[in-house]
């Protein structure tokens, strides 16, 4: 097995290695192989006893139909918008809250039980409450998604803040930095890897919560479409929905990773 990790380097922050990659296959190709393999397995499933599972051509056909009549486009747009807004709001709220929790003991004491508590509550259970509080418009849907991404992200940020190298904070303080500056210019960059974990996990949760969110009187959206298809046990449509969600999630994750590589190029990474 080719080891990418082989590219070794040197002391904390001295020379950066020129990769000694014996990598024969580029990452993208491997991803492709993996995806093809997955599709292959999927294709086999119906023939080895899972007769329920629609084969890829059937699903592709359905996807084509839904694309042509514009349903898929509308659904994708609606869902993407919800997930995007909810996710971004969640992250934007989580970073300062996580920071405050990590930095000020009392805030941590007050907020933490609730963060933990709400983390364990399934989105399905929050929906009736969300309807009562926020009606059936976009607000409760986005709120449920917001909650999912916020709660994943806040813990990661918190842990990131707690783990920031004290030396760097001290260095900033002796240079006259006050809490606000330390937060923006030391803690945030230093805990980027943690925040990123939170964002990636939160992104997944956001999409996974979509179906629940679109229980709330959605008129379109991938989650709604899947749910609706369940009434008729329309498995091809369900699969189209699953795959669309998976692909969109994957794409957003790639964008995240791409952004991250630029934000943390200062790191010595393996």
């Amino acid at each position: 097995m080719t080891m990418v990790r082989q590219q070794p380097a040197t002391q904390a922050g001295t020379p950066q290695p020129e990769p000694r990659r014996r990598r024969t296959v580029p990452r993208g190709v491997l991803n492709l192989v993996s995806v093809l393999l997955g599709i292959g397995i999927w294709w086999l499933l119906p023939t080895v006893g899972f007769h329920d599972i629609p084969a890829p051509p059937e699903v592709a056909g359905r996807a084509w139909e839904l694309t042509v009549d514009g349903t898929l486009g509308g659904d994708v747009l609606a869902s993407l918008l919800r997930v995007f807004i909810g996710f971004v709001l969640g992250v934007v709220a989580a970073v300062p809250v996580g920071f405050l929790m990590g930095w000020y003991g009392p805030i941590r004491g007050l907020v933490e039980p609730w963060v933990q508590f709400f983390r364990t509550i399934p989105p399905l259970a929050i929906i009736p409450l969300a309807i009562v509080l926020m009606g059936i418009g976009e607000t409760p849907k986005i709120f449920v998604i917001f909650l999912a991404s916020f709660l994943a992200c806040v813990i990661a940020t918190f842990q990131g803040v707690v783990n920031v190298d004290k030396t760097l904070i001290n260095a900033a303080r002796v240079l006259g930095a006050k809490d606000r500056t330390i937060f923006a210019r030391v803690v945030v960059p230093a805990s980027t890897p943690f925040i990123l974990v939170g964002m990636r996990v939160g992104l997944g949760s956001s999409w996974a919560t979509l179906v629940a969110a679109e229980l709330i009187a959605a008129q379109q959206g991938l989650g709604y479409r899947m749910q609706n298809a369940q009434l008729y046990y329309d498995l091809p449509t369900i699969f189209v929905g699953l795959i669309a969600i998976g692909v969109l999630g994957l794409l957003m994750d790639r964008i995240l990773l791409f952004a991250e590589r630029h934000l943390t190029s200062w790191q010595e990474r393996r």
């Binding site: 922050g13 001295t14 030396t167 001290n170 303080r173 002796v174 006259g176 210019r185 200062w266 790191q267």
Partner: protein, 253 residues
């Protein structure tokens, strides 16, 4: 004026207490240049941290201009033994950091940073990240960063430890130059007895277990200190006196 008044520092170690500093007292006049020498682990860094406001004494107190040290501040610049550069900032941005927190406008900031980057000989690396620098280069960035905010007290913890002898001499001379021009108080930890004598008004000799001051040696050599002074018999005498004070203690361990 810095007053260190019976400062104690105790760490828990393996269930027991480890006395890193046992009742250390010292007074530093304004604009004094004091070097601290002593064996590894005798509490030099601990003392610096207390003066910087990064650690609180377990007993006694540290006063700067009459008020107890309550936390760090930009008027007390610190060069850390292990550099503590911000790895996500370029050399230039690292040097500008303190200027930004002080609200210096961008153009002026850049100018100051250029100057100090040049001073430590890193012009070519102004836009490099710390991970691209060698050990000695990192140390020089840390020096430039501390100099840039122009603190009235400079706490330097083995600042020239990782650079080669010639660079070291050059840095020593620069430090003395600036110190004589814009007077400030410097507390300077070193392992190099020559360096300690060459730079200081007074050399503070510490000993370990418990960390304490065993002798304070006045260096009555004139400034500017030149190569001639370094080669003078008076220098040799002082050098030997300091050496004796450090190493003819009962050696620990």
């Amino acid at each position: 004026m810095i007053v260190i008044d019976r400062v104690r520092k105790v760490f828990p170690l393996a269930g027991a207490e480890f006395v890193a500093l046992g009742d250390v007292s010292l007074e530093l006049a304004d604009n004094e240049f004091v070097t601290i020498v002593g064996p590894s682990g005798c509490g030099k860094t601990t003392l610096m941290n207390i003066l910087a406001g990064l650690e609180t004494p377990s007993g006694g107190r540290a006063l700067v201009d009459g008020t107890p040290v309550a936390g760090p501040g930009p008027e007390r610049g610190v060069i850390f033994q292990q550099y503590a550069l911000f790895p996500w900032l370029t050399v230039r941005k690292n040097v500008e950091f303190g200027l930004r927190t002080a609200g210096v406008p961008a153009a002026r900031r850049r100018e100051i940073a250029e100057h100090f980057i040049h001073l430590v000989g890193l012009d070519q690396f102004a836009d490099a990240l710390p991970k691209m620098l060698s050990g000695g280069m990192k140390q020089r960035v840390a020096i430039a960063r501390a100099y840039a905010v122009n603190p009235s007290i400079l706490l330097m913890d083995e600042p020239f430890g990782a650079v080669d002898a010639l660079t070291r001499v050059r840095l020593q001379e620069q430090l003395l130059d600036t110190w004589s021009q814009e007077r400030r108080t410097v507390v300077f930890v070193t392992h190099d007895v020559d360096e300690a004598v060459f730079l200081a008004n007074r050399v503070v000799v510490m000993a370990a277990r418990p960390g304490r001051i065993v002798e304070v040696i006045d260096v009555d050599l004139p400034y500017p200190r030149t190569e001639d002074i370094r080669l003078s018999p008076a220098f040799a005498t002082l050098r030997n006196r300091v050496w004796g004070a450090v190493y003819h203690q009962e050696t620990p361990a």
